[in-house]
């Protein structure tokens, strides 16, 4: 069995900026443990000398010319934002004091 606990799931949800109900915590703990148990077949392998593959195609670092090119107007992006002020994305206060 995987060592995944309900507290682990609560912690991971906090890291991922998700809020779970008590019922979801129970359900997800069981379901995620099932997937991690399935992954025990991988954990059992000795792959110390095998290099990892993060990507199937190694094109190296792709460079382009550092040239000015036309881009979309600022409003094309700002118009999709939930809240905009003075041409910027507006968010709730980040620091705990008045600006």
């Amino acid at each position: 069995m995987s060592e995944l606990t309900r507290d682990d799931v609560a912690k991971v949800a906090r890291l991922a900026r998700l809020r779970l109900t008590e019922e979801e915590l129970d359900r997800f703990t069981g379901q995620l443990a099932q997937v991690l148990d399935h992954a025990n077949d991988l954990r059992a392998l000795d792959l110390t000398v095998v290099p990892p593959t993060a990507h199937p195609v190694d094109l190296g670092t792709v460079m382009r010319e550092d040239a000015v090119r036309p881009s979309l107007a600022r409003d094309a992006f700002l118009s999709a934002a939930p809240q905009v002020e003075e041409g910027r994305f507006a968010v709730p206060r980040i620091l705990g004091e008045e600006p």
């Binding site: 995944l4 682990d8 799931v9 991971v12 949800a13 890291l15 991922a16 900026r17 998700l18 809020r19 779970l20 979801e24 997800f28 379901q31 995620l32 099932q34 997937v35 991690l36 399935h38 992954a39 077949d41 991988l42 954990r43 392998l45 792959l47 095998v50 290099p51 990892p52 593959t53 993060a54 990507h55 199937p56 195609v57 094109l59 792709v62 382009r64 979309l72 094309a76 992006f77 118009s79 999709a80 934002a81 939930p82 809240q83 994305f89 968010v91 709730p92 206060r93 980040i94 705990g96």
Partner: protein
């Protein structure tokens, strides 16, 4: 009606693109309420686009190989100004300010996009049931799923609303629904089709590809959208390969390996379909042999660590700041939490948490790191198999289309739907699903041909042989 037949008629002036578009829109109108295939149907602009194609023909210009062909676009493909939801509440109402390269290339080939097709939320699912906009039903049996995550695109073609549709395939999301709906579906080599304008799920696995009734239509569609794009840094160099030209090339002298691990555990009818397809290939001059690639058994576990890990990172962008849903909170962290909790469905939350866990301190080496090493092991195992085979053959999905609701409450059972398709995504290779045989309920089954990187021409030639042979007794 097949895409290439429509294009031939439109190009010759025998038929107008406008009449083709009107027919597609009325086919959608007739069945969309029952099947929930399209989440957005374009309006006037469809007929305007079709009229523009007709005007090109009238002016003596060739609109392209897909002239006047109506196409469905999976709802994770961006088209300027057209709603794009990815099957999620968190993107409800979002209209992208740019168009995906694959869509731009379809337009350049004369195609007429008619709307956005339903999908599992952020392409996470194998049945199109995790969509926030309700499940899509299989047009061949509406009590069953069309597969997923490109289930809307598959259903759109299977219901004859459009002759071709684009999907995306991260772990089988084009091939599995194609199999369950009796269609041809291609997962191209990673990097062959630009991902610019495809909403990211797992960036090292995602590829855009076509679904169609015929191998020829799928080949033409892929040829239209493939080729280098400087806007995607993972795009392979070089132009689109000639694929339609390969359709009649046959399989004489080809070495085809039937992969035990891509058949074991499948329903008996599925096993029989693979054997039937092998017989067709042998009769056409291919040399068949049985091979075993035990490393493929590790694919499912590796995939369900790698894909969620990449997704947990990619989906961090849905934070209520720049686009999509925002739910108010007392401070910015509360706003993030409230937005993501309300905006994502259960399957997306599961995968984000799984990925976050697999990447977290203390578990990274045991899970994510180990999965990346398994990816190396699988790529090397495929390379050994391709030293003795030009192509590999197996099943696409272990069963025929299953009933709606059958697997929604059991994620692991759902994940097992992808067991035969996942290895190709991990290796970055190409594969095609072709209809062959039927399940116990009479629903179509698919067989899968796999090839190394950039083997699309070879795959299409072999798929055309299988397609032509599926009428033989026992198929």
């Amino acid at each position: 009606m097949k895409a290439l037949e429509i294009a031939a008629q439109v190009r010759s002036g025998e038929r107008s693109a406008v009449s083709v578009a009107e027919e597609a829109l009325s086919a959608i109108q007739a069945r969309n309420a029952d099947l929930n295939v399209f989440v957005h149907v374009a309006g006037e602009e469809v007929l305007e686009r079709a009229a523009a194609v007709d005007a090109q023909v009238a002016a003596g210009r060739d609109p392209g190989i897909l002239a006047g062909v109506p196409v469905g676009l999976k709802d994770n493909l961006c088209q300027t100004g057209v709603p794009t939801t990815c099957g999620s509440r968190i993107l409800a109402g979002w209209r992208p300010p740019y168009t995906a390269t694959a869509v731009e290339r379809l337009l350049a080939a004369g195609a007429v996009p008619v709307g956005k097709t339903n999908m599992d939320e952020f392409a996470m699912g194998s049945s199109t049931e995790t969509s926030a906009y309700g499940p899509t039903r299989n047009p061949l049996d509406p009590t069953r799923v069309p597969g997923g995550s490109s289930g809307g695109s598959a259903a759109a073609v299977a219901a004859d609303m459009v002759p071709i549709a684009l999907g995306s395939d991260t772990g089988g999301s084009i091939r599995q629904p194609a199999a369950l709906c009796g269609l041809v579906g291609i997962k191209p080599t990673y990097g062959l089709v630009s991902r610019y304008g495809l909403v990211a799920f797992a960036s090292s696995l995602d590829q855009i590809g076509p679904l169609a009734h015929t191998v020829a239509d799928a080949a033409a569609s892929l040829e239209a959208i493939a080729g280098h794009d400087p806007r995607d840094s993972t795009s392979l160099p070089g132009p689109a390969p000639a694929l339609v030209a390969r359709l009649d090339q046959g399989v004489a002298g080809r070495r085809v390996g039937i992969v035990r691990e891509l058949v074991d555990g499948a329903d008996p009818e599925v096993v029989a379909a693979v054997e039937g397809a092998a017989e067709v290939l042998r009769a056409a001059g291919a040399t068949l042999s049985e091979v075993s690639i035990p490393e493929l058994r590790l694919g499912l576990s590796a995939y369900y660590l790698i894909a969620p890990a990449e997704a947990s990172s990619n989906l961090a962008r849905y934070d209520g700041v720049r686009f999509g849903l925002r739910v108010a909170g007392a401070d910015i962290t509360e706003m993030y939490v409230a937005t993501r909790t309300a905006g994502f469905g259960a399957e997306v939350k599961r995968r984000i948490m799984l990925g976050t866990y697999a990447l977290s301190a203390g578990y990274y080496d045991a899970y994510y790191g180990q999965a990346l090493k398994v990816r190396t092991v699988m790529i090397e195992a495929f390379a050994r198999a391709y030293a003795n085979a030009d192509l590999l053959l197996g099943a696409t999905a272990p069963t025929e289309a299953f009933a709606l609701g059958a697997k929604v409450s059991d994620p692991m059972a759902m994940y097992l739907s992808d067991v035969f398709t996942i290895p190709t995504n991990l290796s970055g290779h190409a594969a095609i699903s072709v209809p062959f045989g039927h399940g116990t309920s009479g629903l179509p089954l698919g067989v899968q041909l796999l090839g190394p990187a950039l083997s699309e021409g070879r795959l299409i030639a072999a798929a055309a042989v299988v397609e032509a042979g599926r009428g033989v007794p026992g198929a």
